[in-house]
């Protein structure tokens, strides 16, 4: 099967690790095969591309791939018809009331092949095998969360041992967590703490109540992910990191932000453990561009626009995904990667028409 060979070729690229660059020509050749495979599996996608003048005979570069909005994952079966080994769903916090995004993954091996070397390089470099303290629910608790699935794979393949302290309802088992942090302190062996920004805020609030402070052993590190979409309390990042430093004893230079989304099977990390800049770095099998929100034309470094990723790990759905996140690629001197700015930083509304998100959020109240 062509699909199997393509999958194996992609796994080969990923297996070479994030430190092995993939020249643009090689990326382009793979992207073309991925696209052809997707057109074959998904006739609607093929017609969508055709309507934009992207046809098998007209391929010139992966840059011509028409972006598929992340929103399209909310329409059942639209981006990934056919059987699936796993179905991951978005958390549904941004548009309460609207359908949740759904990523049907026909073959999990690509997901695993993509996530492991990237996670290892940015959080467990040099063969470190640390015990993992997870503020992310276990995949047994939330099987349709791609984040939980990822942590489960890391648990099986990279971590010394893993304990979960947040349940499917998002509730933190504070008592057990305090005990585990105390044990880690006593044992003197570094740990890896993973969690969403919101879970960290919850934990830090709890620790602040009794003014509890831990000093986790040197070499400990944090993976923090996700923003505060749809949450009542948001905390600026610097403040969050300072609180992690003061309550857990893990300094900001050992706190790595992960940017990921259900719609993409690859993730982006800041290379801070290696002393790199706080920029999110795509792995070699992903190309990220910043597009003009109005025209979708590519913007040069320094200009803010919409982040659009071509992720070859998305073989089973669509690989060119347009996000709703604004971002910017800093001028080259600052290093390879991009900075995520969020949905709509600091804007004041420009009118009195009810915006879609506001309507969805507001309707949660009166209707249910």
């Amino acid at each position: 099967m062509n699909g199997t060979r393509l999958r194996d070729d992609l796994i080969g690229v990923m297996g070479a690790g994030v430190g092995t660059p993939l020249p643009d020509a090689d990326f382009d050749a793979l992207a073309r095969r991925v696209w052809a495979h997707q057109c074959e599996r998904n006739p609607a996608f093929a017609r969508f591309c055709d309507a934009r003048g992207v046809q098998p005979g007209s391929w010139s570069s992966w840059r011509d791939l028409p972006p598929v909005p992340a929103r399209a994952f909310r329409e059942r079966g639209l981006v990934s018809p056919g059987p699936a080994q796993a179905v991951f769903r978005t958390s549904g916090t941004t548009d309460a009331g609207a359908a949740r995004g759904e990523h049907r993954v026909p073959d999990l091996s690509l997901y695993h092949a993509s996530l492991l070397p990237n996670f290892e390089a940015h959080l467990l470099p040099g063969g470190a095998r640390l015990p993992m303290v997870s503020l992310i629910p276990s995949p047994l608790e939330v099987p349709d969360s791609s984040l939980s699935h990822m942590i489960g794979v890391v648990e099986a393949e990279l971590a010394a041992e893993t304990r979960y302290f947040v349940g499917r309802d998002g509730r933190l088992d504070e008592h057990a967590l305090r005990a585990a942090l105390r044990d880690a302190e006593d044992a003197g062996d570094p740990v890896l703490v993973v969690g969403t920004a919101f879970a960290f805020v919850h934990l830090l609030d709890a620790l602040a109540t009794g003014d509890t402070r831990f000093r986790l052993p040197d070499g400990s590190r944090v993976m923090e992910t996700g923003g505060f979409k749809g949450r009542s309390r948001t905390v600026p990042r610097e403040e969050l990191y300072a609180a992690i430093d003061s309550r857990l004893g893990i300094p900001p230079r050992r706190i790595v932000n992960e940017y990921g989304m259900t719609e993409l099977l690859s993730q982006f990390y800041e290379p801070v453990l290696a002393g790199g800049a706080r920029l999110h770095r795509p792995p070699p099998w992903v190309r990220t561009r910043v597009l003009d929100p109005a025209t979708l034309e590519e913007l040069p470094p320094g200009r803010e626009g919409l982040l659009c990723h071509v992720d070859l790990a998305n073989l089973g759905s669509v690989c060119c995904v347009l996000t709703e996140d604004l971002g910017v690629e800093p001028p080259e001197a600052e290093g390879h990667g991009f900075r995520v700015l969020g949905r709509n930083p600091g804007a004041e509304p420009r009118g009195c028409s009810l915006a879609m998100d506001e309507l969805m959020t507001a309707r949660r109240g009166p209707i249910r």
Partner: protein, 495 residues
């Protein structure tokens, strides 16, 4: 990059000396009087080429300003309605006079300040300022007060009593998110109701109220002294903690969160008039799809979507089109698309805000993929177009992402629409209605019961008159404080 001094303060507010008069352009110096302004200023860019500059109010200054407005505003009760209408109208009419420098300045600044194209800025100014003229204000007063003399003194009321409408000691008007010109309308009504007013404009509606205040100061300094325009970042707790308790009435324009936050910070006895964000919808009946009608209907519909670049609470999110007419709803969607394309030449869209543009891309791309999947969806938007028409065979309500994005959905009968509005009641505002023929009255009744507060033709949809019941409330009566004087009745002599 231009800088606009985006504030207006009445003369004589006790405070520190103002250092900044000299740096203002000569025509703007009236905005600042020695001895009135706080010393700290800040600037914010509202577009690539326009910065707004405003004093940063500290709590002590905000308190003095409120007290000063209350003191000066008391004199408004000595004015007669006729003279207020004349002065407010004279200032307003200047925005319609092509030769007037105030109109020129407004037209010069408005595109950048409000994010509109030059042509749309003119359309918005013409549409808004029409309601600031003496004729329209007099009609507003008459529409709201069958006996307008109640605004000037006690008048006979029911049961032998006497009644009089007073202004409030101070109206605080907070505008977070409204279309350009809306805050001037609010200020004019507050002054007409004889209340001094402190306006905190939305960042994108700060230019017109300042220009209006200047125009008013030219013709009626006493009236202009009852007005202050001052911006502070939304929710600045220390400033609002001084301002809100001093208000006799608070008017707020804003999103659900803003309105809820203001409501939570008000003293229990302070009345609040809240205009939260709303949705408009439209109904297109069979009669409007006939050969001689369809093109006109589509053009009116396109203008309703394009007005304010769809940012108004009056702007339609979707059109329910009746089946069984000369055109199918999908065919009418194509007509609407053609009208949008034609209109883009006359009234181009302003620069798209990134968040709106982003949502447009998400919806367009998703619905184009659905169209490719053959589910009956059709998306109309030529390359480079700054508008989108999406035909969706599912009649269920869908909100637009704005940015001139209009849904077209089929209904077998317009009678079905009221049912489709279920659940939207708290957010409904204007319903455009056309082509309903003799069914219009019964449809208006149904729409009103469903929660709609205004039914209008597509052509008038975006431009409610000065006397409209905005969100179902009284425009002027909501701003007055009634006083009943129950006169002791002389016993009737017995015969």
């Amino acid at each position: 990059m231009r800088t606009f001094p985006a504030w207006w303060l009445p003369p004589g507010v006790p405070g520190r000396a103002a250092p900044a008069v000299a740096e203002l352009p000569p025509h703007a110096r009236g905005a600042e009087h020695p001895g009135t302004a706080p010393t700290a200023f800040s600037t914010t860019s509202v577009s690539d080429d326009l910065r707004l500059r405003f004093p940063t109010p500290d709590p002590a200054f905000a308190r003095r300003l409120c007290d000063h407005l209350v003191e000066g505003g008391a004199r408004l009760h000595e004015r007669r309605t006729d003279s207020l209408v004349a002065s407010l109208g004279r200032a307003g009419a200047r925005f319609l006079d092509p030769a007037d420098p105030i109109r020129k300045e407004a037209l010069d600044l408005l595109p950048a300040a409000a994010g509109l194209s030059t042509a749309m800025a003119r359309e918005v100014l013409d549409g808004m300022a029409r309601d600031w003229t003496a004729d329209r204000l007099a009609r507003l007063v008459r529409a709201q007060f069958p006996d307008p003399a109640v605004l000037d003194g006690f008048r006979p009321g029911p049961g032998g009593s006497r009644v009089r409408a007073f202004g409030h000691r101070l109206i605080v008007q907070l505008g977070a998110g409204n279309v350009a010109g809306v805050s001037v309308g609010g200020v004019v009504r507050a002054l007409l109701a004889r209340s001094p007013v402190l306006l905190k404009p939305g960042l994108h509606d700060a230019v017109l109220p300042v220009l209006y205040a200047r125009a008013l100061a030219d013709c009626d300094p006493e009236l202009a002294a009852a007005l202050a325009v001052l911006y502070w970042p939304g929710g600045a707790d220390t400033v609002e903690a001084e301002v809100l308790p001093r208000a006799g009435l608070v008017v707020v324009y804003g999103g659900t969160d803003t309105v809820a936050a203001v409501r939570g910070r008000l003293p229990a006895a302070t009345p609040l008039v809240a205009y939260s964000h709303r949705v408009g919808v439209a109904l297109v009946g069979r009669e409007a799809l006939a050969a001689g009608q369809a093109a006109r209907t589509a053009l009116d519909a396109a203008r309703a979507v394009a007005a304010f670049d769809q940012r108004g609470c009056v702007s339609p999110h979707l059109f329910w089109v009746e089946e069984g007419g000369a055109l199918t709803p999908a065919e009418w969607a194509a007509r609407l698309a053609a009208a949008m394309a034609a209109l883009e030449q006359d009234l181009p869209a302003g620069p798209a805000a990134p968040d709106i543009a982003s949502r447009v891309q998400q919806l367009r791309g998703t619905w184009e993929l659905k169209q490719a999947a053959g589910d009956g969806t059709r998306v109309f938007r030529p390359a480079g177009a700054e508008w989108t028409v999406a035909y969706d065979p599912d009649p269920a309500f869908s909100p637009s992402c704005l940015g001139r994005f209009a849904w077209v959905k089929p209904v077998p009968d317009l009678e079905r629409v009221a049912g489709l509005l279920a659940g939207l009641r708290p957010f409904l505002q204007t319903a455009g209605l056309c082509g309903a023929g003799t069914r219009a009255a019964s449809l208006a009744e149904q729409l009103g019961r469903a929660g709609v507060t205004r039914v209008a033709t597509l052509r008038r949809m975006a431009w409610p008159p000065a006397w409209w019941h905005h969100d179902g409330g009284d425009p002027l009566r909501a701003l007055v404080r009634w006083v009943d004087w129950e006169v002791e009745q002389e016993p009737r002599p017995t015969v």
